[in-house]
């Protein structure tokens, strides 16, 4: 059952859509067929709560999200103008009460997103038929509910959701581990096992005593035993640390079939949504770049100007303690466009020490547009910032880094130095601001315990949440679970054995 919100677009909007689509095509944007639907706020909130999808499995958190959106709207705190989902064809939802200028802007913005979804490399592995997949997930979960009961399944979903961020967002793009044994390993192994297993050289019988002396053989046998032991130690499980904790759990945790199925559903959906987190700045920047270009060059009418300016500036507003991805994205794209138009790149420009010349550098290359199309194809937020953030840009946009001051519990401006700002920005973007967690050992202490490792990069875990998460992890692993992290500047292992939590902290390093 697909929700019956589908109604034909009103004529006015249909005309706008065609106009905007043509402008977008003229600029070289490339997108899947885009289907627009107009919804009232209730319906839009419903779609937003479901992450854009009309059919999801039943879960209370969607209801909570919906409740929050509706309340926020009725108190006038927030408003969603539009939603786009990354599928083929692309679905976009417009808010019915938007005024006509807003609709134009939003439609232009949507085409930016659609182009980005289709062309950005980080989205290349996402399932474009996710609409169907989500509906299938819903069916599967509902079947499990029919068999095992609503609350049982709900509780298990809660448990899985607690771990949903433990995926490897890069794994669709690379192959982490070779299943086949590498040559070096094979050689080592055969060395240890030895030919015939004795280390004896072939010799004629009468020479054997001299060629294979007894004591030497014994010594060799001893060494072999030691080596075999070392090798056994190396046969750790898993062989090397794994980033995709969920995959590991699906493979090895003692789960029932339906539980394994639910966990895979949660994992699949987490992977589907991951690129949106990885490209927030770029995606919003790109869409904003296009709505602003199309609107200011073609879409605006005299009477719409104020409204457009108001809406656009509202979207671009900055505040000291919150980085606006729309603003940063569009500014950085414009900066790149300008630099490549003027030729402000390459060794010649970089090595120029004449500040005046640098500032007025203009080779009139006109490569800007081409460059930003390339950028939108290959970069994610991290590589985007890493490659294109310049000291001049930071200065112009008054960027600073801030840090938490533990003594007075406030966030304070820490630095306006380029390197620090950039580093901080990259840190907060890496893994979408979430801690990176690995499976280190699935047979810790040889007792079947699970041992995770938090890759500590200066920010500590929120302790109470970490402990609650361990409890959920234990529900799945069913043996004691541990995580190595840092608490109060000390390396610490947090453990939960099914009954109580324990904390084992080492001396300050």
């Amino acid at each position: 059952m697909v929700v019956t919100t589908h109604r034909p677009l009103p004529k006015v909007l249909c005309d706008i859509q065609q106009e905007m689509e043509q402008h977008a095509l003229d600029y070289g944007l490339d997108f899947f067929k885009t289907i627009f639907e107009v919804l009232d706020y209730e319906e839009l909130s419903m779609f937003a709560a479901y992450g854009g999808f009309p059919v999801r499995y039943p879960h209370w958190r969607f209801g909570a999200q919906y409740d929050e959106l509706m309340k926020g709207y009725s108190y006038g705190l927030q408003k969603i103008y539009e939603m786009v989902i990354n599928t083929d064809p692309c679905y976009a939802y417009l808010l019915s009460c938007n005024d006509i200028t807003d609709q134009k802007l939003v439609i232009a913005h949507v085409y930016g997103h659609c182009d980005f979804f289709k062309n950005n490399a980080w989205f290349s592995h996402t399932n474009r038929k996710m609409l169907d997949q989500m509906a299938n997930h819903s069916t599967r979960v509902n079947q499990h509910i029919d068999t095992y009961g609503y609350e049982t399944v709900e509780m298990f979903i809660d448990t899985c959701l607690s771990l949903e961020s433990l995926i490897d967002p890069y794994s669709p793009h690379i192959r982490r581990t070779q299943k086949t044994e590498s040559k070096a390993d094979a050689k080592k192994r055969s060395e240890i096992e030895g030919e015939g297993g004795t280390g004896r050289f072939p010799a004629k019988m009468y020479m054997d005593r001299y060629i294979n002396p007894e004591d030497v053989l014994e010594e060799e046998a001893d060494q072999k035993r030691i080596k075999a032991q070392e090798m056994a130690d190396q046969l750790k499980f898993p062989k090397e640390r794994l980033r995709d904790v969920l995959h590991f759990l699906i493979q090895y945790a003692p789960l029932e079939d339906w539980q394994r199925d639910v966990l895979s559903i949660i994992r699949d959906e987490a992977y589907y949504f991951a690129p949106q987190g990885q490209t927030k700045i770029m995606n919003e920047g790109w869409a904003s770049y296009w709505h602003s270009t199309i609107m200011t060059k073609h879409g605006l009418t005299d009477q719409g100007l104020i409204n457009y300016a108001d809406h656009h500036s509202g979207t671009m507003a900055t505040s000291p303690n919150r980085l606006n991805p729309y603003k940063l994205g569009i500014e950085l794209l414009k900066d790149i466009e300008e630099r490549w138009d003027k030729g402000q790149f390459g060794p010649e420009y970089e090595n120029c020490s004449d500040m005046f010349a640098k500032e007025h550098w203009d080779k009139d290359l006109g490569l800007g547009r081409e460059k930003i199309f390339e950028v939108r194809r290959i970069h994610n937020d991290i590589t985007f910032i890493d490659t294109f953030l310049t000291p001049e840009f930071c200065y112009k946009n008054q960027m600073f880094s801030f840090a938490f001051n533990d003594s007075n519990r406030t966030y304070e401006i820490q630095s306006r130095e380029f390197q620090q700002v950039k580093q901080q920005l990259l840190n907060s973007l890496s893994n979408h601001g979430r801690p990176a967690i690995y499976v280190q050992d699935g047979n810790y202490k040889n007792r079947g315990e699970l041992y995770l490792e938090h890759e500590y990069l200066g920010v500590e875990l929120k302790l109470d949440y970490a402990q609650d998460t361990l409890v959920n992890l234990h529900h799945i692993w069913k043996r004691p679970v541990n995580i190595e992290t840092v608490v109060d500047d000390r390396p610490t292992i947090l453990s939960y054995d099914g009954k109580k939590h324990s904390t084992d902290s080492k001396e300050k390093q």
Partner: protein, 368 residues
């Protein structure tokens, strides 16, 4: 069609109300935790339920911002329980969600938590009162009862049918035949009204803490009794050496000083009952709160008064003695002497806020 989202939202609602139910004891003992009180609903702030993740805390966190400011300048406070998401500026502290509960739901939760029995209203079922209910429509009646919408619709229908209606000039003129009037039916309902009389000692020995306890406890008693009866009437009496009938607001705020003569309150109660609540028609509840300090020679008069005028006619007479650093707390001993004889006399000692829960159970647990 029930939308998926409505189902999910109802489920969420249920979960979050379950949270209130689980922690009802806390809400009962600390009346101040109840948020806004409306006529029919109360809203209760509950911590948002969140699914825990491995996530960054505040220590060592930071981010990047844009704007003016010197290095070292503060840009925002950390929240003692925020969920810093690495992008610290993005953090949203722990949300508090307000759950809107109707007083009925709250009463049901209370009943469930305290295992309160439903009250069997006293008196015979013969006792009925007549009520007029406007449930129907008829073609005649006084102008004051004219049903505008129905009248208008009929007129519109007639004009369209006779082709007298012009959408560009939408004038509708009802005639006598178009008019419709609200009409009532008289129904008789079994009479189950309750009168609650609160008495409080406001002598110098009762401090604000004791009054807070009284306020909290009477809120819950009200909630429960309201659920059990169609309508309840409340009367408030404060007394020191003399008693006064006051309104609800004054009841909780008055502070007097001087001595205590509890019998004065009983006399006032008796008067109110005689004046307003004929015992044959009303279920009468008396709740008395005091620190138990009474003038010694008054005690016998009190007991006499209760026996004569009050015990025979009320469903329950509840005496709650709050502990006060100044009061002797002797009065409850006097009542204990007669406790055996009257099973509608309930005594409870409330030492502190934590005791409110148990006290409510003692008072209302009899099902009377």
């Amino acid at each position: 069609m029930v939308r998926r989202i409505d189902r999910d939202q109802q489920r969420f609602d249920k979960i979050i109300k379950g949270k209130v139910r689980q922690q009802l004891r806390k809400y009962i003992n600390h009346g101040e935790m109840i948020g806004r009180k409306g006529r029919e609903t109360v809203s209760i702030p509950v911590p948002n339920i969140e699914i825990p993740h491995f996530q960054h805390g505040e220590k060592g966190s930071g981010g990047v911002g844009q704007g003016e400011g010197e290095v070292g300048e503060a840009i925002g406070r950390g929240k003692s329980d925020g969920d810093g998401q690495g992008e610290a500026g993005n953090d949203r502290g722990q949300h508090i969600r307000e759950v809107e509960l109707s007083l009925e739901e709250l009463a049901d939760m209370l009943g469930e938590a305290l295992e309160l029995p439903r009250i069997e209203p006293k008196g015979d079922d013969q006792l009925t009162s007549e009520k007029d209910r406007y449930t129907s429509i008829r073609p005649t009646g006084p102008d004051s009862l004219r049903h505008f919408k129905r009248t208008y619709k009929r007129a519109l229908r007639r004009m369209m049918a006779t082709d007298n209606y012009d959408p560009r000039d939408p004038v509708i003129i009802p005639t006598k035949d178009d008019e419709r009037f609200r009409s009532w039916k008289t129904v008789s309902e079994p009479h189950t009204n309750a009168a609650v009389i609160y008495m409080m000692d406001v002598s110098g020995s009762m401090t604000d803490i004791q009054k807070e306890i009284v306020r909290t406890e009477s809120f819950w008693i009200d909630t429960w009794l309201k659920r059990q009866y169609n309508g309840i009437e409340r009367r408030y009496i404060v007394h020191d050496a003399v008693a006064h009938e006051v309104d609800e607001d004054t009841f909780y705020r008055t502070r007097e000083s001087g001595g205590t003569r509890i019998s004065s309150a009983y006399r006032a109660t008796d008067q109110i009952i005689k004046r307003d609540f004929p015992p044959s028609m009303w279920n009468i509840y008396c709740f008395q709160f005091s620190d138990g300090d009474n003038w010694g020679e008054d005690n016998s008069e009190c007991i006499e008064n209760l026996k004569q005028n009050i015990f025979p006619i009320c469903n329950l007479f509840c005496y709650g003695q709050v502990k006060s650093p100044y009061g002797s707390g002797d009065f409850i001993k006097e009542l204990r002497k007669v406790e055996e004889e009257y099973d509608n006399l309930i005594l409870s000692e409330i030492d502190d806020k934590e005791a409110i829960y148990g006290s409510i159970k003692t008072f209302l647990g009899t099902g009377k």
